[in-house]
Amino acid sequence: MKRLSRIGLKGGEKMDKGYIEYICSLAKLEYDEENSDRIIEKIKAFDVYAEKLADIDTNDIKPLVNVNETINVMREDAVMPSLERNIILENAPEKLYGCIKVSKIIE
Protein backbone atom coordinates (compact mmCIF):
# COMPACT_ATOMS: atom_id res chain seq x y z
CA MET A 1 0.00 0.00 0.00
CA LYS A 2 3.02 2.29 -0.06
CA ARG A 3 1.92 4.09 -3.19
CA LEU A 4 -1.53 4.99 -1.87
CA SER A 5 -0.45 8.58 -1.47
CA ARG A 6 -0.18 8.82 -5.22
CA ILE A 7 -3.80 8.03 -5.78
CA GLY A 8 -6.40 10.71 -5.08
CA LEU A 9 -5.60 10.91 -1.42
CA LYS A 10 -2.85 13.43 -1.47
CA GLY A 11 -1.36 14.67 1.76
CA GLY A 12 -3.97 16.28 3.99
CA GLU A 13 -6.90 15.03 1.94
CA LYS A 14 -9.12 12.63 3.79
CA MET A 15 -11.45 9.98 2.51
CA ASP A 16 -14.22 10.94 4.87
CA LYS A 17 -17.95 11.55 5.01
CA GLY A 18 -17.44 15.13 3.83
CA TYR A 19 -15.93 13.81 0.64
CA ILE A 20 -18.81 11.38 0.13
CA GLU A 21 -21.25 14.23 0.59
CA TYR A 22 -19.34 16.19 -2.04
CA ILE A 23 -19.41 13.33 -4.53
CA CYS A 24 -23.13 12.90 -3.90
CA SER A 25 -23.72 16.56 -4.67
CA LEU A 26 -21.80 16.28 -7.93
CA ALA A 27 -23.84 13.23 -8.90
CA LYS A 28 -27.12 14.68 -7.60
CA LEU A 29 -27.73 11.71 -5.33
CA GLU A 30 -28.95 11.89 -1.77
CA TYR A 31 -26.24 11.73 0.83
CA ASP A 32 -27.09 8.94 3.22
CA GLU A 33 -24.87 9.18 6.25
CA GLU A 34 -25.64 5.62 7.33
CA ASN A 35 -24.47 4.29 4.01
CA SER A 36 -21.41 6.51 3.74
CA ASP A 37 -19.04 4.10 5.47
CA ARG A 38 -19.88 1.43 2.95
CA ILE A 39 -19.31 3.85 0.10
CA ILE A 40 -15.95 4.81 1.56
CA GLU A 41 -14.95 1.15 1.55
CA LYS A 42 -16.07 0.76 -2.04
CA ILE A 43 -14.11 3.84 -3.08
CA LYS A 44 -11.01 2.56 -1.34
CA ALA A 45 -11.36 -0.76 -3.15
CA PHE A 46 -11.85 1.09 -6.40
CA ASP A 47 -8.75 3.15 -5.82
CA VAL A 48 -6.82 -0.07 -5.37
CA TYR A 49 -7.59 -0.69 -9.02
CA ALA A 50 -6.04 2.63 -9.99
CA GLU A 51 -3.18 1.78 -7.68
CA LYS A 52 -2.54 -1.37 -9.67
CA LEU A 53 -2.33 0.56 -12.92
CA ALA A 54 0.27 2.88 -11.47
CA ASP A 55 2.71 -0.02 -11.84
CA ILE A 56 2.72 0.37 -15.59
CA ASP A 57 4.76 3.02 -17.34
CA THR A 58 2.48 4.70 -19.83
CA ASN A 59 4.52 7.79 -20.57
CA ASP A 60 4.90 6.87 -24.22
CA ILE A 61 1.50 5.23 -24.62
CA LYS A 62 -1.24 7.23 -26.33
CA PRO A 63 -4.76 7.03 -24.91
CA LEU A 64 -7.19 4.62 -26.58
CA VAL A 65 -10.82 5.65 -26.25
CA ASN A 66 -12.24 4.05 -29.41
CA VAL A 67 -10.58 0.66 -30.00
CA ASN A 68 -10.94 1.05 -33.76
CA GLU A 69 -9.38 4.54 -33.70
CA THR A 70 -12.04 5.66 -36.11
CA ILE A 71 -11.70 9.28 -37.19
CA ASN A 72 -13.67 11.91 -39.11
CA VAL A 73 -17.22 10.63 -38.88
CA MET A 74 -19.39 13.56 -39.91
CA ARG A 75 -22.68 14.21 -41.64
CA GLU A 76 -23.89 16.73 -44.19
CA ASP A 77 -25.50 19.90 -42.93
CA ALA A 78 -29.06 18.91 -43.84
CA VAL A 79 -32.32 19.26 -41.93
CA MET A 80 -34.49 16.22 -41.13
CA PRO A 81 -37.91 16.27 -39.44
CA SER A 82 -37.91 16.78 -35.68
CA LEU A 83 -40.13 15.01 -33.17
CA GLU A 84 -43.71 16.24 -32.90
CA ARG A 85 -44.01 18.43 -29.85
CA ASN A 86 -46.94 16.53 -28.39
CA ILE A 87 -44.81 13.39 -28.37
CA ILE A 88 -42.02 15.17 -26.54
CA LEU A 89 -44.47 16.44 -23.95
CA GLU A 90 -46.10 13.02 -23.53
CA ASN A 91 -43.01 11.65 -21.85
CA ALA A 92 -42.40 14.75 -19.74
CA PRO A 93 -43.58 14.43 -16.13
CA GLU A 94 -44.33 18.15 -15.89
CA LYS A 95 -45.20 20.47 -18.73
CA LEU A 96 -46.88 23.81 -19.42
CA TYR A 97 -47.48 26.01 -22.45
CA GLY A 98 -45.61 23.66 -24.75
CA CYS A 99 -42.54 23.68 -22.53
CA ILE A 100 -41.07 21.35 -19.97
CA LYS A 101 -41.74 22.63 -16.47
CA VAL A 102 -39.20 22.66 -13.66
CA SER A 103 -38.85 24.15 -10.22
CA LYS A 104 -38.28 27.92 -10.28
CA ILE A 105 -34.73 28.80 -11.17
CA ILE A 106 -33.16 31.86 -9.67
CA GLU A 107 -30.21 33.01 -11.73
Binding site: L26, K28, P63, V65, N66, T70, I71, N72, V73, M74, R75, E76, D77, A78, V79, M80, S82, L83, R85, I88, L89, E94, L96, Y97, G98, C99, I100, K101, V102, S103, K104, I105, I106, E107
Partner: protein, 477 residues
Amino acid sequence: MRYETVIGLEVHVELSTKSKAFCSCKNEFGSEVNTNCCPVCLGYPGALPVLNKKVVEYAVKAGLALNCDISLYSKTDRKNYFYPDLPKAYQISQDDMPICKNGFIEIEVDEEIKKIGITRIHIEEDAGKLLHGAGDEDYSLVDFNRAGVPLIEIVSEPDIRSPEEARLYLEKLKSILEYLEISDCKMQEGSLRCDANISLRPIDEEKFGVKSEIKNMNSMKSLERALEFEVKRQTEILLQGEEVAPETRRWDDAKSITIAMRAKDKTYDYRNFPEADLVPIVLEPEWIKEIKTNLPELPDFKRNRFVKQYGIPKYDASVLTLSKDLSVFFERCAKDYKNPKAVSNWVMGEVLRILKEREQEISNIKFPPEYLRELIDLIDEGLLNSSAAKLVFEEMFDTGKEPKTLLDKLGLKQISDEDAIGELVNEVLANNQESVEAYKNGKSNALKYLVGQAMKISKGKANPKMINSMLLERLED
Protein backbone atom coordinates in the same frame (compact mmCIF):
# COMPACT_ATOMS: atom_id res chain seq x y z
CA MET B 1 -2.01 54.25 -6.24
CA ARG B 2 -2.78 53.83 -9.90
CA TYR B 3 -4.26 50.67 -11.28
CA GLU B 4 -4.12 48.98 -14.62
CA THR B 5 -7.22 47.33 -16.00
CA VAL B 6 -6.86 43.80 -17.33
CA ILE B 7 -9.70 42.37 -19.36
CA GLY B 8 -10.21 39.07 -21.17
CA LEU B 9 -13.30 38.34 -23.24
CA GLU B 10 -15.05 35.00 -23.85
CA VAL B 11 -17.30 35.21 -26.85
CA HIS B 12 -19.83 32.54 -27.80
CA VAL B 13 -20.96 32.60 -31.42
CA GLU B 14 -23.93 30.62 -32.72
CA LEU B 15 -23.04 29.25 -36.14
CA SER B 16 -25.58 29.74 -38.89
CA THR B 17 -25.66 26.14 -40.08
CA LYS B 18 -28.92 24.70 -41.36
CA SER B 19 -28.99 21.88 -38.82
CA LYS B 20 -27.75 21.52 -35.26
CA ALA B 21 -24.26 20.44 -34.22
CA PHE B 22 -24.97 16.79 -33.47
CA CYS B 23 -28.38 16.09 -34.96
CA SER B 24 -30.42 17.08 -38.00
CA CYS B 25 -32.94 19.31 -36.26
CA LYS B 26 -33.40 22.75 -37.75
CA ASN B 27 -31.11 25.44 -36.38
CA GLU B 28 -33.52 28.36 -36.35
CA PHE B 29 -34.12 31.30 -34.06
CA GLY B 30 -37.65 32.17 -33.10
CA SER B 31 -39.38 28.89 -33.87
CA GLU B 32 -42.32 27.86 -31.72
CA VAL B 33 -41.09 26.30 -28.52
CA ASN B 34 -39.90 22.70 -28.61
CA THR B 35 -40.59 22.19 -32.32
CA ASN B 36 -36.98 21.66 -33.41
CA CYS B 37 -36.08 18.76 -31.13
CA CYS B 38 -35.31 15.07 -31.46
CA PRO B 39 -34.10 12.21 -29.25
CA VAL B 40 -30.49 13.27 -29.75
CA CYS B 41 -30.75 16.92 -28.72
CA LEU B 42 -33.24 16.01 -25.99
CA GLY B 43 -30.85 13.52 -24.44
CA TYR B 44 -33.21 10.57 -24.67
CA PRO B 45 -31.84 7.17 -23.60
CA GLY B 46 -29.88 5.47 -26.35
CA ALA B 47 -29.67 8.53 -28.62
CA LEU B 48 -26.23 9.27 -30.09
CA PRO B 49 -24.61 12.42 -31.54
CA VAL B 50 -23.22 12.74 -35.08
CA LEU B 51 -21.01 15.76 -35.90
CA ASN B 52 -22.18 18.25 -38.55
CA LYS B 53 -19.25 18.78 -40.92
CA LYS B 54 -20.27 22.37 -41.61
CA VAL B 55 -19.50 23.16 -37.99
CA VAL B 56 -15.91 22.07 -38.48
CA GLU B 57 -15.65 24.10 -41.68
CA TYR B 58 -16.99 27.24 -40.03
CA ALA B 59 -14.71 26.83 -37.01
CA VAL B 60 -11.68 26.53 -39.29
CA LYS B 61 -12.80 29.61 -41.24
CA ALA B 62 -13.02 31.56 -38.00
CA GLY B 63 -9.61 30.29 -36.92
CA LEU B 64 -7.98 31.29 -40.20
CA ALA B 65 -9.60 34.74 -40.21
CA LEU B 66 -8.40 35.27 -36.66
CA ASN B 67 -4.83 34.26 -37.47
CA CYS B 68 -4.90 31.05 -35.44
CA ASP B 69 -3.00 27.80 -35.74
CA ILE B 70 -5.46 25.17 -36.89
CA SER B 71 -5.07 21.90 -34.97
CA LEU B 72 -4.73 19.01 -37.36
CA TYR B 73 -5.94 16.68 -34.61
CA SER B 74 -8.70 17.69 -32.24
CA LYS B 75 -11.40 15.85 -30.34
CA THR B 76 -14.55 16.47 -28.35
CA ASP B 77 -14.98 16.03 -24.61
CA ARG B 78 -17.87 15.96 -22.16
CA LYS B 79 -18.29 18.78 -19.68
CA ASN B 80 -20.53 17.36 -16.95
CA TYR B 81 -22.96 19.39 -14.87
CA PHE B 82 -26.67 19.41 -14.03
CA TYR B 83 -28.99 22.16 -15.26
CA PRO B 84 -32.51 21.87 -16.69
CA ASP B 85 -31.52 23.43 -20.03
CA LEU B 86 -28.76 20.82 -20.51
CA PRO B 87 -30.54 17.64 -21.66
CA LYS B 88 -27.73 15.12 -21.38
CA ALA B 89 -26.40 16.67 -18.15
CA TYR B 90 -23.19 17.17 -20.08
CA GLN B 91 -22.21 19.56 -22.82
CA ILE B 92 -20.24 18.20 -25.74
CA SER B 93 -17.34 20.63 -26.01
CA GLN B 94 -13.59 20.60 -26.56
CA ASP B 95 -11.32 20.63 -23.55
CA ASP B 96 -7.62 20.02 -24.02
CA MET B 97 -7.52 19.82 -27.82
CA PRO B 98 -9.43 22.77 -29.29
CA ILE B 99 -9.63 23.13 -33.03
CA CYS B 100 -7.80 26.50 -33.15
CA LYS B 101 -5.14 28.17 -30.98
CA ASN B 102 -2.84 31.16 -30.72
CA GLY B 103 -4.45 33.79 -32.92
CA PHE B 104 -4.96 37.54 -32.71
CA ILE B 105 -7.12 40.48 -33.76
CA GLU B 106 -5.88 43.99 -34.51
CA ILE B 107 -7.75 46.97 -33.16
CA GLU B 108 -7.01 50.65 -33.57
CA VAL B 109 -6.76 52.57 -30.30
CA ASP B 110 -5.83 56.23 -30.36
CA GLU B 111 -4.57 55.91 -33.91
CA GLU B 112 -2.30 53.01 -33.00
CA ILE B 113 -2.72 49.40 -34.01
CA LYS B 114 -2.84 47.01 -31.08
CA LYS B 115 -2.83 43.22 -31.21
CA ILE B 116 -5.21 41.38 -28.89
CA GLY B 117 -4.27 37.73 -28.58
CA ILE B 118 -6.75 34.91 -29.03
CA THR B 119 -5.94 31.94 -26.84
CA ARG B 120 -8.24 29.41 -28.44
CA ILE B 121 -11.37 28.71 -30.44
CA HIS B 122 -13.33 25.56 -29.81
CA ILE B 123 -16.52 23.85 -30.95
CA GLU B 124 -19.35 23.14 -28.54
CA GLU B 125 -23.13 22.83 -28.37
CA ASP B 126 -25.56 25.38 -26.97
CA ALA B 127 -28.03 24.63 -24.18
CA GLY B 128 -31.79 25.12 -24.29
CA LYS B 129 -33.53 28.28 -23.13
CA LEU B 130 -35.03 28.88 -19.73
CA LEU B 131 -38.13 31.02 -19.56
CA HIS B 132 -38.94 32.67 -16.28
CA GLY B 133 -42.18 34.43 -15.48
CA ALA B 134 -42.18 37.97 -14.16
CA GLY B 135 -44.49 37.13 -11.30
CA ASP B 136 -44.06 34.80 -8.38
CA GLU B 137 -44.79 31.50 -10.05
CA ASP B 138 -42.87 28.66 -8.50
CA TYR B 139 -41.73 27.25 -11.81
CA SER B 140 -39.56 27.94 -14.83
CA LEU B 141 -40.12 26.62 -18.34
CA VAL B 142 -37.61 25.03 -20.69
CA ASP B 143 -37.53 25.35 -24.47
CA PHE B 144 -35.06 22.93 -26.05
CA ASN B 145 -35.03 24.41 -29.56
CA ARG B 146 -31.63 25.93 -28.87
CA ALA B 147 -30.20 22.77 -27.29
CA GLY B 148 -27.58 21.37 -29.63
CA VAL B 149 -27.19 24.52 -31.75
CA PRO B 150 -23.50 24.73 -32.76
CA LEU B 151 -21.29 27.30 -31.06
CA ILE B 152 -17.72 28.35 -31.31
CA GLU B 153 -16.22 29.82 -28.19
CA ILE B 154 -13.51 32.41 -28.80
CA VAL B 155 -11.32 33.17 -25.80
CA SER B 156 -9.06 36.20 -25.82
CA GLU B 157 -5.82 36.60 -23.96
CA PRO B 158 -6.08 39.09 -21.09
CA ASP B 159 -4.51 41.71 -23.37
CA ILE B 160 -7.35 44.23 -23.22
CA ARG B 161 -6.58 47.27 -21.11
CA SER B 162 -9.75 49.35 -21.10
CA PRO B 163 -13.52 49.09 -21.57
CA GLU B 164 -13.13 50.98 -24.83
CA GLU B 165 -10.59 48.46 -26.09
CA ALA B 166 -13.02 45.70 -25.14
CA ARG B 167 -15.74 47.25 -27.25
CA LEU B 168 -13.35 47.77 -30.16
CA TYR B 169 -12.27 44.13 -29.91
CA LEU B 170 -15.83 42.88 -29.93
CA GLU B 171 -16.81 45.19 -32.80
CA LYS B 172 -13.87 43.99 -34.87
CA LEU B 173 -14.56 40.35 -34.00
CA LYS B 174 -18.23 40.71 -34.90
CA SER B 175 -17.34 42.38 -38.16
CA ILE B 176 -14.91 39.62 -39.14
CA LEU B 177 -17.41 36.89 -38.29
CA GLU B 178 -20.12 38.61 -40.34
CA TYR B 179 -17.78 38.86 -43.29
CA LEU B 180 -17.14 35.14 -43.04
CA GLU B 181 -20.90 34.57 -43.09
CA ILE B 182 -20.68 31.88 -40.43
CA SER B 183 -23.04 33.60 -37.99
CA ASP B 184 -25.60 36.37 -38.10
CA CYS B 185 -23.92 37.80 -34.99
CA LYS B 186 -27.05 39.35 -33.52
CA MET B 187 -26.34 40.24 -29.91
CA GLN B 188 -29.97 41.09 -29.32
CA GLU B 189 -30.99 37.58 -30.43
CA GLY B 190 -28.19 35.88 -28.56
CA SER B 191 -26.26 34.58 -31.55
CA LEU B 192 -23.27 36.56 -30.31
CA ARG B 193 -22.73 36.52 -26.55
CA CYS B 194 -19.93 38.01 -24.57
CA ASP B 195 -18.71 37.45 -21.03
CA ALA B 196 -15.82 39.39 -19.57
CA ASN B 197 -13.18 38.66 -16.97
CA ILE B 198 -11.91 41.88 -15.44
CA SER B 199 -9.35 42.58 -12.76
CA LEU B 200 -7.14 45.46 -11.68
CA ARG B 201 -3.52 45.48 -10.64
CA PRO B 202 -1.11 48.17 -9.60
CA ILE B 203 0.70 49.66 -12.56
CA ASP B 204 3.96 47.78 -13.18
CA GLU B 205 2.73 44.78 -11.18
CA GLU B 206 3.08 41.59 -13.19
CA LYS B 207 0.81 39.39 -11.14
CA PHE B 208 -2.84 39.44 -12.09
CA GLY B 209 -5.36 40.74 -9.60
CA VAL B 210 -8.50 38.90 -8.51
CA LYS B 211 -10.95 38.81 -11.38
CA SER B 212 -14.69 39.16 -11.57
CA GLU B 213 -16.64 37.47 -14.30
CA ILE B 214 -19.26 39.75 -15.84
CA LYS B 215 -22.28 38.37 -17.68
CA ASN B 216 -25.47 39.62 -19.32
CA MET B 217 -23.99 42.39 -21.44
CA ASN B 218 -26.34 42.32 -24.39
CA SER B 219 -24.98 45.08 -26.60
CA MET B 220 -21.70 46.79 -27.44
CA LYS B 221 -22.76 49.75 -25.37
CA SER B 222 -23.64 47.72 -22.31
CA LEU B 223 -20.32 45.87 -22.61
CA GLU B 224 -18.44 49.15 -22.38
CA ARG B 225 -20.68 50.57 -19.66
CA ALA B 226 -20.54 47.43 -17.55
CA LEU B 227 -16.78 47.33 -17.69
CA GLU B 228 -16.53 51.04 -16.90
CA PHE B 229 -18.68 50.40 -13.87
CA GLU B 230 -16.48 47.49 -12.84
CA VAL B 231 -13.30 49.53 -13.12
CA LYS B 232 -14.83 52.10 -10.79
CA ARG B 233 -16.20 49.48 -8.40
CA GLN B 234 -12.98 47.52 -8.15
CA THR B 235 -10.86 50.65 -7.86
CA GLU B 236 -12.92 51.84 -4.89
CA ILE B 237 -12.54 48.49 -3.18
CA LEU B 238 -8.81 48.37 -3.70
CA LEU B 239 -8.27 51.95 -2.63
CA GLN B 240 -9.94 51.09 0.65
CA GLY B 241 -7.32 48.42 1.15
CA GLU B 242 -9.88 45.63 0.70
CA GLU B 243 -9.81 42.65 -1.63
CA VAL B 244 -12.00 42.15 -4.63
CA ALA B 245 -14.13 39.02 -4.24
CA PRO B 246 -13.72 36.45 -7.01
CA GLU B 247 -17.30 36.14 -8.17
CA THR B 248 -19.63 36.17 -11.12
CA ARG B 249 -21.60 39.38 -11.52
CA ARG B 250 -24.58 40.21 -13.65
CA TRP B 251 -24.91 43.53 -15.51
CA ASP B 252 -28.23 45.19 -14.89
CA ASP B 253 -28.72 47.54 -17.83
CA ALA B 254 -31.69 49.37 -16.34
CA LYS B 255 -29.95 50.09 -13.04
CA SER B 256 -26.51 50.48 -14.68
CA ILE B 257 -24.76 48.35 -12.09
CA THR B 258 -23.30 44.89 -11.76
CA ILE B 259 -24.80 42.62 -9.14
CA ALA B 260 -23.13 39.60 -7.60
CA MET B 261 -24.85 36.37 -8.64
CA ARG B 262 -25.28 33.48 -6.23
CA ALA B 263 -21.81 32.96 -4.85
CA LYS B 264 -19.86 30.01 -6.15
CA ASP B 265 -17.73 28.96 -3.26
CA LYS B 266 -15.47 26.62 -5.20
CA THR B 267 -14.76 26.15 -8.86
CA TYR B 268 -17.17 23.50 -10.08
CA ASP B 269 -15.57 20.21 -11.10
CA TYR B 270 -16.78 19.49 -14.63
CA ARG B 271 -15.01 16.13 -14.78
CA ASN B 272 -14.08 16.63 -18.45
CA PHE B 273 -13.26 13.39 -20.26
CA PRO B 274 -13.21 12.34 -23.93
CA GLU B 275 -16.59 11.98 -25.67
CA ALA B 276 -16.62 8.30 -26.60
CA ASP B 277 -19.75 8.55 -28.76
CA LEU B 278 -17.84 10.76 -31.21
CA VAL B 279 -14.50 10.28 -32.92
CA PRO B 280 -11.53 12.64 -33.35
CA ILE B 281 -11.37 15.26 -36.11
CA VAL B 282 -8.27 14.90 -38.25
CA LEU B 283 -7.81 17.66 -40.82
CA GLU B 284 -5.86 17.60 -44.07
CA PRO B 285 -3.50 20.55 -44.53
CA GLU B 286 -4.64 20.68 -48.17
CA TRP B 287 -8.24 21.19 -47.14
CA ILE B 288 -7.27 23.94 -44.71
CA LYS B 289 -5.27 25.65 -47.44
CA GLU B 290 -8.28 25.48 -49.75
CA ILE B 291 -10.46 27.13 -47.15
CA LYS B 292 -7.86 29.82 -46.60
CA THR B 293 -7.66 30.59 -50.30
CA ASN B 294 -11.40 30.89 -50.50
CA LEU B 295 -11.83 33.13 -47.48
CA PRO B 296 -13.74 36.30 -48.35
CA GLU B 297 -11.96 39.65 -48.17
CA LEU B 298 -11.88 40.64 -44.52
CA PRO B 299 -12.86 44.06 -43.08
CA ASP B 300 -9.39 45.54 -42.45
CA PHE B 301 -8.15 44.58 -45.88
CA LYS B 302 -11.27 45.90 -47.54
CA ARG B 303 -11.08 49.16 -45.62
CA ASN B 304 -7.52 49.76 -46.75
CA ARG B 305 -8.42 48.85 -50.29
CA PHE B 306 -11.36 51.26 -50.29
CA VAL B 307 -9.04 54.08 -49.24
CA LYS B 308 -6.60 53.32 -52.02
CA GLN B 309 -9.02 52.33 -54.72
CA TYR B 310 -11.71 54.95 -54.18
CA GLY B 311 -9.65 57.73 -52.68
CA ILE B 312 -11.98 58.10 -49.74
CA PRO B 313 -10.84 59.04 -46.27
CA LYS B 314 -10.02 56.30 -43.74
CA TYR B 315 -12.96 57.33 -41.57
CA ASP B 316 -15.39 56.86 -44.46
CA ALA B 317 -13.88 53.51 -45.33
CA SER B 318 -14.17 52.36 -41.71
CA VAL B 319 -17.85 53.24 -41.56
CA LEU B 320 -18.54 51.64 -44.93
CA THR B 321 -16.77 48.38 -44.03
CA LEU B 322 -18.31 47.94 -40.59
CA SER B 323 -20.86 45.65 -42.14
CA LYS B 324 -20.18 43.37 -45.07
CA ASP B 325 -23.52 44.04 -46.71
CA LEU B 326 -22.96 47.79 -46.48
CA SER B 327 -19.50 47.51 -47.99
CA VAL B 328 -20.85 45.41 -50.85
CA PHE B 329 -23.58 47.93 -51.51
CA PHE B 330 -21.13 50.84 -51.49
CA GLU B 331 -18.77 49.06 -53.84
CA ARG B 332 -21.48 48.19 -56.30
CA CYS B 333 -22.35 51.89 -56.49
CA ALA B 334 -18.84 53.25 -56.49
CA LYS B 335 -17.04 50.82 -58.75
CA ASP B 336 -15.95 52.45 -62.02
CA TYR B 337 -17.90 55.56 -61.05
CA LYS B 338 -16.43 58.99 -61.39
CA ASN B 339 -17.37 60.24 -57.96
CA PRO B 340 -16.91 57.64 -55.25
CA LYS B 341 -16.76 60.33 -52.56
CA ALA B 342 -20.28 61.39 -53.37
CA VAL B 343 -21.42 57.78 -53.15
CA SER B 344 -19.68 57.49 -49.82
CA ASN B 345 -21.44 60.60 -48.52
CA TRP B 346 -24.81 59.35 -49.63
CA VAL B 347 -24.31 55.88 -48.17
CA MET B 348 -22.95 57.12 -44.86
CA GLY B 349 -25.62 59.80 -44.75
CA GLU B 350 -29.05 59.22 -46.24
CA VAL B 351 -28.79 55.46 -46.72
CA LEU B 352 -27.78 54.70 -43.15
CA ARG B 353 -30.27 57.21 -41.80
CA ILE B 354 -33.24 55.79 -43.63
CA LEU B 355 -32.30 52.19 -42.83
CA LYS B 356 -32.27 53.06 -39.16
CA GLU B 357 -35.53 55.02 -39.41
CA ARG B 358 -37.39 52.32 -41.27
CA GLU B 359 -35.71 49.56 -39.22
CA GLN B 360 -34.57 47.73 -42.30
CA GLU B 361 -31.48 45.80 -43.34
CA ILE B 362 -29.31 46.89 -46.24
CA SER B 363 -29.59 43.42 -47.71
CA ASN B 364 -33.32 44.05 -48.22
CA ILE B 365 -32.93 47.40 -49.93
CA LYS B 366 -35.41 47.71 -52.78
CA PHE B 367 -33.40 49.76 -55.25
CA PRO B 368 -30.27 48.56 -57.04
CA PRO B 369 -26.96 50.39 -56.43
CA GLU B 370 -27.02 51.76 -59.99
CA TYR B 371 -29.99 53.95 -59.09
CA LEU B 372 -27.96 55.76 -56.48
CA ARG B 373 -25.40 56.59 -59.16
CA GLU B 374 -28.17 57.88 -61.33
CA LEU B 375 -29.46 60.07 -58.54
CA ILE B 376 -26.03 61.57 -58.02
CA ASP B 377 -25.71 62.14 -61.74
CA LEU B 378 -29.02 63.98 -61.80
CA ILE B 379 -27.80 66.33 -59.10
CA ASP B 380 -24.55 66.90 -60.95
CA GLU B 381 -26.41 67.70 -64.12
CA GLY B 382 -28.39 70.29 -62.23
CA LEU B 383 -31.66 68.52 -62.71
CA LEU B 384 -32.19 68.06 -59.00
CA ASN B 385 -31.35 70.27 -56.11
CA SER B 386 -30.32 68.74 -52.84
CA SER B 387 -33.65 69.02 -51.04
CA ALA B 388 -35.53 67.60 -54.00
CA ALA B 389 -32.93 64.87 -54.26
CA LYS B 390 -33.69 63.81 -50.69
CA LEU B 391 -37.36 63.47 -51.56
CA VAL B 392 -36.57 61.41 -54.63
CA PHE B 393 -34.25 59.24 -52.60
CA GLU B 394 -36.90 58.46 -50.03
CA GLU B 395 -39.38 57.58 -52.72
CA MET B 396 -36.74 55.44 -54.41
CA PHE B 397 -36.09 53.65 -51.14
CA ASP B 398 -39.76 52.98 -50.46
CA THR B 399 -40.75 51.94 -53.98
CA GLY B 400 -37.54 50.79 -55.63
CA LYS B 401 -38.36 52.90 -58.67
CA GLU B 402 -35.77 54.57 -60.90
CA PRO B 403 -34.88 58.21 -60.05
CA LYS B 404 -35.51 59.45 -63.59
CA THR B 405 -39.06 58.10 -63.44
CA LEU B 406 -39.64 59.49 -59.99
CA LEU B 407 -38.34 62.85 -61.06
CA ASP B 408 -41.06 63.23 -63.61
CA LYS B 409 -43.69 61.53 -61.48
CA LEU B 410 -43.06 63.79 -58.55
CA GLY B 411 -42.61 66.75 -60.82
CA LEU B 412 -39.40 67.60 -59.06
CA LYS B 413 -37.28 68.15 -62.08
CA GLN B 414 -35.18 71.11 -61.38
CA ILE B 415 -35.76 74.01 -63.66
CA SER B 416 -32.46 74.92 -65.24
CA ASP B 417 -33.67 76.11 -68.56
CA GLU B 418 -32.34 79.63 -69.15
CA ASP B 419 -35.52 80.98 -70.61
CA ALA B 420 -37.65 79.58 -67.84
CA ILE B 421 -35.28 80.99 -65.26
CA GLY B 422 -35.37 84.29 -67.08
CA GLU B 423 -39.15 84.38 -66.87
CA LEU B 424 -39.08 83.57 -63.19
CA VAL B 425 -36.57 86.28 -62.53
CA ASN B 426 -38.70 88.78 -64.40
CA GLU B 427 -41.73 87.83 -62.39
CA VAL B 428 -39.93 88.14 -59.11
CA LEU B 429 -38.37 91.48 -59.97
CA ALA B 430 -41.69 92.81 -61.13
CA ASN B 431 -43.53 91.83 -57.99
CA ASN B 432 -40.98 92.84 -55.41
CA GLN B 433 -40.05 96.42 -56.11
CA GLU B 434 -39.33 97.25 -52.48
CA SER B 435 -36.73 94.52 -52.30
CA VAL B 436 -35.16 95.68 -55.51
CA GLU B 437 -34.93 99.19 -54.10
CA ALA B 438 -33.58 97.83 -50.81
CA TYR B 439 -30.87 95.92 -52.62
CA LYS B 440 -29.92 98.94 -54.68
CA ASN B 441 -29.65 100.87 -51.43
CA GLY B 442 -27.06 98.41 -50.10
CA LYS B 443 -29.17 95.81 -48.30
CA SER B 444 -27.53 92.64 -49.73
CA ASN B 445 -29.96 90.40 -47.81
CA ALA B 446 -32.64 91.46 -50.20
CA LEU B 447 -31.05 89.18 -52.80
CA LYS B 448 -31.58 86.19 -50.59
CA TYR B 449 -35.19 87.18 -50.17
CA LEU B 450 -35.66 87.49 -53.90
CA VAL B 451 -34.08 84.05 -54.48
CA GLY B 452 -36.41 82.68 -51.88
CA GLN B 453 -39.40 84.14 -53.66
CA ALA B 454 -38.29 82.60 -56.92
CA MET B 455 -37.94 79.20 -55.25
CA LYS B 456 -41.40 79.65 -53.74
CA ILE B 457 -43.03 80.41 -57.05
CA SER B 458 -41.29 77.48 -58.71
CA LYS B 459 -42.25 75.22 -55.84
CA GLY B 460 -38.62 74.56 -55.09
CA LYS B 461 -37.83 73.25 -58.54
CA ALA B 462 -35.79 76.15 -59.80
CA ASN B 463 -32.07 75.81 -59.90
CA PRO B 464 -31.12 78.12 -57.06
CA LYS B 465 -27.64 78.83 -58.39
CA MET B 466 -28.98 79.99 -61.68
CA ILE B 467 -31.66 82.10 -60.02
CA ASN B 468 -29.06 83.70 -57.87
CA SER B 469 -26.66 84.55 -60.68
CA MET B 470 -29.36 85.83 -63.04
CA LEU B 471 -30.93 88.00 -60.36
CA LEU B 472 -27.54 89.39 -59.51
CA GLU B 473 -26.88 90.14 -63.12
CA ARG B 474 -30.13 91.99 -63.52
CA LEU B 475 -29.82 93.87 -60.27
CA GLU B 476 -26.39 95.09 -61.16
CA ASP B 477 -27.65 96.53 -64.36
